[in-house]
Amino acid sequence: MADKKMKKAPLGSLQPDPDIFDWNDLPADDVFEKASGQEKESFIQDRKSVSYWADAWRRLRHNVVAMVAAVVLILIMLFAFVGPMLVPYGYAQTIRGAENLHPWHTSLQDQLRVEEEIQRRKDVLQAAEEEALTAAALPSWEEFKDQYVAEQLAAEAAKQGGKLTRQRENILKAQMANEAGKAYAALKEQAAADKDAVTISTDEETVKKELGIGNRPFGYSRAELERKAAGEKVFPHVFGTDYLGRDRMVRVMIGARVSLIVGVCSALLVLIIGAVYGAISGYAGGVVDTVMQRIVELIYSIPEVLVILLISATLKPFLDDYQNAGKLFSGLVTMLGPNLISMFIAFALLYWVTMSRIVRGQILQLKNQEYVTAARALGAGGGRVIKRHLLPNCIGQIVTTTFLQIPSAIFLESFLSFLGVGVSAPLTSLGSMCSEALAGMYTYPYRLLFPAVILSVMILSLNLFGDGLRDALDPRLKK
């Protein structure tokens, strides 16, 4: 060994460091001890590798709020997608004789009791009325007039001190007739008021209250109650029915389904367009990036809601035409409805901007990293680098942004439907149901309540779960 030792090279010399030669002298075999099988196993167990998704899932699982939101979401999805299969009514099916049902009912016996009671009360009232008429002995008009005029004339004659001339009498009589009419009307009113004072209410609700009959949950029409009494199984109208006799619960389910589908489809559209645009813009850089970013800025400053309203207003006639032309996809157009399609188009045109900005920012950060250089050195083209290396590395941000797009799309859809430019009839959405319920808001607040609550809870849990997802996928962002 000693002979290999050289003089240490001066600082800055290109000569190799003499110590380097020592490295070739491998240590003797017995210096290290081989690990036993058990040790190897425990070593592996100590450092069990955790994948990105498993790690994120672990973090997400410990987030109570996000998990509760997820459970609520799953329930809403079951409600929206499985629910309509379980309920034997269609969302556009009108059930005759079951219009405007409340979400509560009174049993058949009680209904009969109420009817009997009302009938009884009506009879009583009528009897009372007749009685009152005879008792008050309201004189007939002719009688009353004659009597009134005679009285007045006598009074007048007395005042004049003796007899009236024939002419004077006639003039007075004509005047009296008018006054007599007024007096008679007052008398009649008095009699009516007397009668009202003894009135018993024949209003159904009041009678029910006075009889002490309570409401039972769920709505049934009379015919359905009779069928039920006959031993048939009848599915209740849990939320009641609307003015056409359509089951409200099924409509809420379908509305929630439409909202969810719109949300997910828009999010996917936004994801695809935004990610591709942002990735190309970020990766290409230079002039391409500048031009693409100017376009993004332009779209960013266009007020979206205005354009969406505009697009849905102008596209409708086209889509209606297309639908009737019976070309390819016209079935799809019919199924979705022209308004929904224009909404998607608007989303595709305008809403990918945020996503593209986020993806571009990430790509700009990542594209100078060594593994990208390595991939390019190995001959990978731009498309492959973006697809295989860059996008997977910003997946956390992409997933989060996509997910949070869902509630905002639902928000917008309900907004448009509420204004009457969203989903078109007979299909329904939560927004249009709220809009319909607005008219009878004070009398039937529950009509507004059901869709509004489902909508709000849905958006809330999507937001909460999205926040949780962001914290789990991108812990650096956690605040």
Partner: protein, 313 residues
């Protein structure tokens, strides 16, 4: 700075132009023409009408003409909603109502949201913070019409302090309360969340520690040191918020039957009154773009460190 302003103004003009062009071509792409009604006039009459209104000229010429008229404040006349009335005069009548409600809503939402956000950040992880966060998250999850109808059901009507409907003949401060509450609720919640996040960021900075070690009072630290830095994201949001408030106004105006521009716009879309749709869209778009521009330029005032020349955001 002048270069930046010039660039931004140019972008704003371009945006308005693009919106105007989109609107124009969308309107012209619609099948049918304005003369289609129950009794279609004779072809010669239609020709004469087309000539009179310049509809026989090629599209680009029409576009240039329309833009020229627009610059002079002439948006054409309504064909259905209020027959033959100039769109400009309709806007002049309806917009102040919407603008007033929108301005009050933005004002109260900012005034309430910023202190709430600060409080929430300052009392981080206490019940105050949790409550505020829950309320704000619920707030941003409720569509405007839900908030508006809840307010109507609980606070309006007989025996309650506020009117249910906008009565044109009897507009008092009470008429404004509910619409403004409903319209400002979402921005308030959103802004409070935003402020909280920005405040948390600011509070953890070194200069806050310095301020504290200098012996400054908490109030002064929060409002003078932290808040000024936390306000940037809040101002960023103000621009889009103005747009949102104007468009969110559509719903509130519908629920409260307010005769504002938003409701008129939506009605005109349903009635397919194209000149009105066009005029209103361009007007609102211009308004929103100008507001965004002003907000953008405000950055510089609030935070002199921001270098606008290198990409405004």
């Amino acid at each position: 700075m002048p270069k930046y302003i010039a660039k931004r103004v140019f972008m704003a003009l371009l945006t308005v132009l693009v919106v105007a062009c989109i609107t124009f071509f969308l309107m012209h792409a619609i099948p049918g023409n304005p003369w289609l009604s129950e009794k279609t006039p004779a072809p010669s009459v239609i020709e004469a009408l087309n000539k009179k209104y310049g509809l026989d000229q090629p599209l680009p010429v029409q576009l240039v003409k329309y833009l020229g008229n627009m610059l002079r404040g002439d948006f054409g006349a309504s064909i259905k909603m209020s027959k033959n009335r100039a769109v400009a005069s309709i806007i002049a009548e309806k917009f102040p109502v919407s603008a007033k409600i929108g301005a009050i809503s933005i004002l109260w939402s900012v005034i309430v949201a910023v202190p709430l956000g600060c409080l929430s950040a300052y009392k981080r992880s206490t019940w105050v913070d949790s409550t505020l966060r829950v309320v704000c998250t619920i707030g941003i999850s409720m569509p405007g019409f839900v908030v508006a109808t809840i307010l109507l059901l609980t606070l309006a009507g007989e025996g309650r302090p506020f009117p249910t409907m906008w009565n044109v003949n009897d507009v008092t401060w009470r008429s404004y309360v509910l619409p403004c509450l409903a319209l400002g609720f979402y921005p308030m919640c959103y802004l409070a969340r935003q402020t909280r996040t920005a405040m948390l960021d600011a509070i953890n900075q070194e200069y806050i520690k310095t301020a504290r070690s200098k012996g400054l009072k908490t109030g002064k630290i929060i409002f003078k040191h932290a808040l000024r830095n936390a306000l940037i994201p809040v101002i960023t949001y103000l621009g889009p918020q103005i747009a949102f408030t104007l468009c969110g106004g559509f719903v509130v105006e519908k629920v409260f039957s307010i005769p504002g521009l938003g409701r008129y716009f939506v009605d005109s879309i349903q009635a397919r009154d194209y000149p009105v749709i066009m005029g209103t869209t361009i007007f609102l778009a211009t308004f929103i773009v100008v507001m965004n521009l002003i907000v953008d330029l405000l950055y510089k005032v609030v935070d002199p460190r921001i270098n606008l020349e290198k990409g405004g955001n």
